[in-house]
């Protein structure tokens, strides 16, 4: 099977939409749904570079991570502190700002990574930026893990064009799943102590 170039713009749109939604919502269920959407977008971006069956690894690993976090949340009865609409809007605005920065950085980044297409570059930088924003805005476990997964997804999108090794793909998928497992472990520990 070959790469499907047409997936890139669609993937970029899904990534942007789901990441901004992830920043805006505070309910864990919605956040995980946004993360699922993000991995679908990542799949679209990577599928424009890699053969479809290899790109599917990203989607599967991402969704497995979501499922792991979901099980941890359901199992522990996790409830996030209620967020205010205003703080969600501010985060959304900050996310939009970062998305614009990602677009403006693309020509510079193209000099560093000339092999990567503009859509993939924008998508990758946007994911990295929005993930960093998510990490910097929180000290709680779930949003932090979601931010780290977003950052890793951004890196994987950019790295996909550079390294086509099956072993690296597998190891990166393992890192994603391990990060989700770690998040689940920390969530369970925290809620056990609190309970």
């Amino acid at each position: 099977m070959v790469a499907v170039d047409q997936f890139a713009p669609l993937g970029l749109l899904i990534v942007a939409g789901s990441c901004l939604f992830l920043l805006f919502v505070w309910k864990p269920g919605w956040q995980l749904l946004a993360l699922m959407g993000m991995y679908l977008g990542v799949f679209g971006l990577v599928a424009s570079i890699w053969p479809l069956e290899l790109a599917l690894v990203k989607l599967v690993a991402g969704w497995v991570s979501v499922v792991i976090l979901g099980f941890a949340l359901v199992g522990t009865g996790y409830e996030a502190e209620k967020g205010a609409l205003l703080s969600g809007l501010i985060r959304l605005l900050a996310g939009l700002l970062i998305s614009l920065v990602a677009i403006s950085l693309t020509p510079t980044a193209k000099g560093w990574l000339p092999q990567v297409s503009p859509e993939v570059l924008i998508g990758g930088i946007m994911l990295l930026g929005l993930g960093l924003l998510q990490i910097s805005l929180t000290t709680r476990i779930l949003p932090l893990i979601l931010g780290l997964l977003t950052c890793l997804a951004g890196f994987e999108v950019l790295y996909a064009r550079l390294e086509l090794s099956v072993l690296v793909t597998g190891l990166l998928a393992t890192v994603n799943i391990c990060l989700a497992l770690l998040g689940a472990y920390l969530l369970v520990n925290m809620l056990e102590v609190r309970g």
Partner: protein, 466 residues
Amino acid sequence: MSAPLVWIGLPALVGVILLFLRLRDRVAAGIAASVTCGLTLLAIGKPPGGVISLFFWSTKLEPVFTVLGREFILTANDRWLLVMLYATMTLWFLGGMVTPSTHLLGPIGLGLIAFMIAALAVEPFLYAALLLQMAVFLSVPLLVPPHHRPGRGILRYVSVQTLGMPLLLLTGWLLGGIETAPVGIPQTTQALVLMGIGFGALLAVFPFHTWVPMVLTEVPPYVGGFVAWLLPLAVSLFGLGFFDRYIWLRETTGVYSILQTVGILMVISGGLWAAVQRQMGRMLGFFVIVEIGLSLLTISSGVVSGGPLFFALLLPRFLALFLWSLSLSGFRLLADDDHSLVLRGMMRRFPFAGGVLVLSQLTLAGFPLLPGFPTRLALYSRLVSEFPLAAASVLLASGGMMIAVVRTLTILVGGGESGGWQVSEGLGLRIFLSIGVILLLLGGLLPQTFLPFGIQALQSFPHILP
């Protein structure tokens, strides 16, 4: 049989088995100690490439093990590095038998050393970043045992380490294309920037160092010290591998200037912050930051000339961190304890632990007659002629650390409990602490006998041998 299978596969396998058996913490630590002790002796007697003979059976320890087209390579050059790593691990595990730790110390400790050696042995080496990342993930259940609340330091630790890994992967990709290229092409600058930030994050270099004191405040002291020894060591050896592999990197003077500046910043900030701490875990964190800064300074005037000193620092550092963690653990503190209150007057109840705690701090501060002094003296004399500012910063840090030692002494012997002296430590802990003191004194009095053990590990990096 291949050498990587023995020194990587075997501990990993035993670690997994121990994890599932869920043995008592002392039993698990004892089994782990036996495995690492056996591997230490094997590395001494039959290094990679050697032949093992047992009655009618003999096999050669092949240096290469191939997985999915990638190779793990351990050669005879790695012999002393393996000895150093496994010998120190043995002591950590034995220490885990005499002090309250966690049942995960044995299994996860074995997993960590397996990942660490795999990261040093893997080819192409860019996979090392991923293996180190797995080691970081594996270390978290050790630092935050089940049913313990994770603190902010742990979250920061996970974040910083996870963000550093992609940068090193990108560096590996960039360097793959310029292995033999001359200095000055744009890719080298890009690779240097990415490598600097990536290693900065992984090695807890300024400004990514804040998690170290935070984590060491939150976690049980023994496992905290264990990770504070193992992880920076793994990353710094991985970093030395870059210098060993790339000639242009060794010859880029700008790299050394950056190492020097960052080293000075770490040494000064760590030393001064240590001086004002009253929480022993946090104080240990700042001492660790100073040690990382010192390691950077040793190679800041050239990795070839500074390599032996880099390795000479390792043994005193290990002894000091090990004894600090062991003695602090001996006080049976709780994570949220205010050490300035809880430890007040504890020297009278825990004289062995208190005395060793102070001695280990003095070792890290470079006090005469202790093993940290000869290496510190060598570093001073080296820096004072080449970079007087760096030498002054090391002196300043030592001053800060000495103040920290005085503060510790003040807390341990001051006020608090009334009554006479008593010995509250268990027999095993007393024996261990006493052996530690003997090793510290021998290391200080006979440095020419002890320090070469660490320096021999430099043979793993043949291109930076002086």
